[in-house]
Structures are given as structure tokens and as C-alpha cells.
């Protein structure tokens, strides 16, 4: 998720610089930092909403099942080794298209203005940190894709239960105690009534 406090600090600093350019150089201690708000807050809220939506899409069951089905259908061509078969490229392209389409369609449904350049403008100068962006980054990388397919194939070889979590590239744990990841493969949640 986008870290709110950090973002707001940045926005404040930016505003002060624009309006009090000279004063800022001379008497830095004299003025108070006031958030005049307006446009900036709106943008921050919108960014939060978009990032939130991206997260929702990625953790959504339907996306996960699409991903798993793709792995099932395509993993057999993948083999360990440094040299890649030409077919991998085709598979990677299909997978990228699948992810791209899912993301764009869902974002459009929520934000009618959405286009890729709208998204770029919105996030301009903003750090794309956090789990959502790490996950998206993993999804866009060929080597990660290859590894995902190989892992899937390896696991599927066993007892026919085909479950693999998406590999997420992430930063070092920064605060709090480290906890092992939830083993979602053994976790079943069913609605009470179905």
C-alpha cells in the first residue's frame, strides 16, 4: 500500500517550495507548514483508490483461478536449464496479455477515465513502493514467469494437487517481528451457506 504519511510530507514540502521560494531560502524557521489541501489531497485519495483496486484485483479469487488455469495448461513445455525454448516467449506473451487485460478491464470498471497514460500521470513522481507494485513487477518479468511455471510443474508432478502461490519479490522486513508466511495451500475457507 502507499504509505500515507510519507506522501503527505512530500506534498507539503513541494507546496512550500513553490509558494515561498525565496523565503524558504532565507528564513527557513519562520513559516509554518500549512496544508492548503485541495487538488493534492484529491490526487492522493485517487492514488490510494487505484492502488487499493489493483490489490483487490490481484488477490481476487477469479484472478488467481485464471492464473492457475494458465499454469496448468502451459507448464508442460517448461524445463529446467538456461536455454529457453522459443515457445516460452509465446506463453509469456499470452500470460502478459491475460494479466494486462484483467487489470485494465477491472480498473476501467471502477475508474471510467482509466488509460495507461492517465495512470502514468497520476503516479508521476510517486514512489511505486509496496507489495502491489512488487507483485505487478514480478508479473511483468520473463525470468519470474519461467520460474513460476517451473515451480508449478514441479509441484503438480506430485499428488495431483496443483497449488502454487505467486512468487513475490519484496523488500527486507523493515519493522515488526518477522512471521512466516501463511501456508495458504492448506487453508480452506468456505462460506457458511452455499
Amino acid at each position: 500500500m502507499v504509505e500515507l504519511p510519507e506522501l503527505e510530507n512530500e506534498i507539503l514540502a513541494g507546496e512550500v517550495y513553490d509558494e515561498e521560494d525565496l523565503a524558504a531560502d532565507d528564513n527557513e524557521s519562520f513559516f509554518e507548514v500549512v496544508d492548503s489541501g485541495e487538488g493534492q489531497n484529491e490526487r492522493t485519495n485517487l492514488i490510494d483508490a487505484v492502488v487499493g483496486k489493483l490489490e483487490d484485483i490481484l488477490v481476487d479469487e477469479s484472478f488467481e483461478s485464471v492464473r492457475l488455469r494458465f499454469c496448468e495448461e502451459n507448464c508442460l513445455i517448461f524445463e529446467e536449464g538456461e536455454e529457453n525454448k522459443l515457445e516460452y516467449t509465446e506463453a509469456f506473451r499470452s500470460f502478459s496479455d491475460l494479466v494486462e487485460t484483467t487489470l485494465v478491464e477491472n480498473l476501467k470498471a471502477e475508474f471510467p477515465d482509466f488509460t495507461v497514460s492517465w495512470f502514468c500521470d497520476l503516479l508521476k513522481d510517486k514512489p511505486c513502493d509496496g507489495e502491489v507494485f512488487d507483485m505487478l513487477f514480478s508479473l511483468s518479468d520473463f525470468e519470474e514467469f519461467k520460474q513460476m511455471m517451473l515451480d508449478f510443474k514441479k509441484r503438480e508432478g506430485g499428488d495431483g494437487v496443483a497449488v502454487s502461490r505467486m512468487k513475490i519479490y519484496s523488500e527486507e522486513q523493515e519493522d515488526g517481528d518477522h512471521r512466516p508466511d501463511l501456508d495458504l495451500s492448506s487453508l480452506h475457507i468456505r462460506p457458511l451457506a452455499n
Binding site: N84, L123, F137, S140
Partner: protein, 185 residues
């Protein structure tokens, strides 16, 4: 450009440059890549698919895509043009018999729209082998007089001894970096 491509670009921590190595089979593409990566060059088998090597070079992260050059594989090259910033065309300088082939395939690449902005480095490889054509003779045979705006250069090298390989890479990386990274240094 798609959403994922944009995110990949923004998130990439280092400055990345994507290079595509192509050329006829047995030109020595894989050997040159191995040499650049400091790997053993004494035995190389024909590449039937492709390999990606990542190399840190002068502060840039180079992703080198080495794709097989056999006749049946050449139609697949097009799948690797996207986002290619530098094209490295490798020639077996001793293979006079197939120079015509070599010229035809290279000219096909040069009219590709997706490669229009790519810097072109031509490696006149196997200069350590006797009978190797000089880069001047190769240039004449390749008829590269109509290059227009493209940044390009030919460098003599030997993938086996390593001679010239670093020089060529330096040039192509510098040229691309000046083009795409000059504003955000």
C-alpha cells in the same frame, strides 16, 4: 505501452538496457556473450531457442537476449524486437560463402519498424581465424550505405580471444545511454 511495461520501467532499480544478439547460425553470438560474462568459451553448442544473460556494465544493467540463428529460427526473431534498444549483429568473418545470406537477413532487420530507433553494432567476429575478411571488405559486401539516421558501427572482434568484444560493447552501451538516459542522470 501496456500497464505492466510501465510498472516494470518505473520499478526497475537500475538503469536497464536491452540488447538483442542476432546473426546467422555459427556466427559466434553465444561465444561472444559467454566471453562478456567471463564464462568458458571453449565449448558452445548451437542455440535452438534463446538465452538471456544479465550483465552489469558501467553502471547499467544489460539484458542480453541471444537468439538462435538457424534458418528455421529466424522467423522467430521478430518476437524479440519489442523494447530492444541495441541490436548486435554478429558476422562470421570467415564465412564468405554466406555473406549474401548475411546481407539479406541484416537488411530485413533494418527495415523493421520496431527496431528503427535501435543502435546497431556489427561484430566482425572470428578475426583470430585465418581467412577472416577485414571489416572494410565486409562493409562493402553488406552494402550498408543507406543507413539514414541510425547510429551504427562495425567492430572487429574475436569471441574466443575476447579481442574487440569489450570495445564494441562499450560503444553500444554508451550510445544507447546517451540517447535514453541523458535526461535522468
Amino acid at each position: 505501452m501496456g500497464l505492466l511495461t510501465v510498472i516494470k520501467k518505473v520499478k526497475a532499480k537500475e538503469k536497464e538496457i536491452r540488447l538483442l544478439m542476432v546473426g546467422l547460425d555459427n556466427a559466434g553470438k553465444t561465444t561472444i556473450v559467454k566471453n562478456l560474462c567471463g564464462e568458458d568459451v571453449s565449448k558452445t553448442s548451437p542455440t535452438l531457442g534463446f538465452e538471456i544473460k544479465t550483465l552489469a556494465h558501467n553502471g547499467y544493467k544489460l539484458n542480453i537476449w541471444d537468439v538462435g540463428g538457424q534458418t528455421t529460427l529466424r522467423s522467430y526473431w521478430r518476437n524479440y524486437y519489442e523494447q530492444t534498444e541495441g541490436l548486435i549483429w554478429v558476422i562470421d568473418s570467415t564465412d564468405v560463402r554466406r555473406l549474401e545470406d548475411c546481407k539479406r537477413e541484416l537488411h530485413k532487420l533494418l527495415v523493421e519498424e520496431r527496431l528503427a530507433g535501435a543502435t546497431l553494432l556489427i561484430f566482425a567476429n572470428k578475426q583470430d581465424v585465418s581467412g577472416a575478411q577485414s571489416q572494410e571488405d565486409l562493409l562493402k559486401a553488406l552494402e550498408l550505405d543507406k543507413m539514414g539516421e541510425r547510429h551504427w558501427r562495425i567492430v572487429s572482434c574475436s569471441g574466443v580471444t575476447g579481442e574487440g568484444v569489450g570495445k564494441g560493447l562499450d560503444w553500444v552501451v554508451e550510445d544507447i545511454a546517451a540517447r535514453i538516459y541523458m535526461f535522468n542522470n
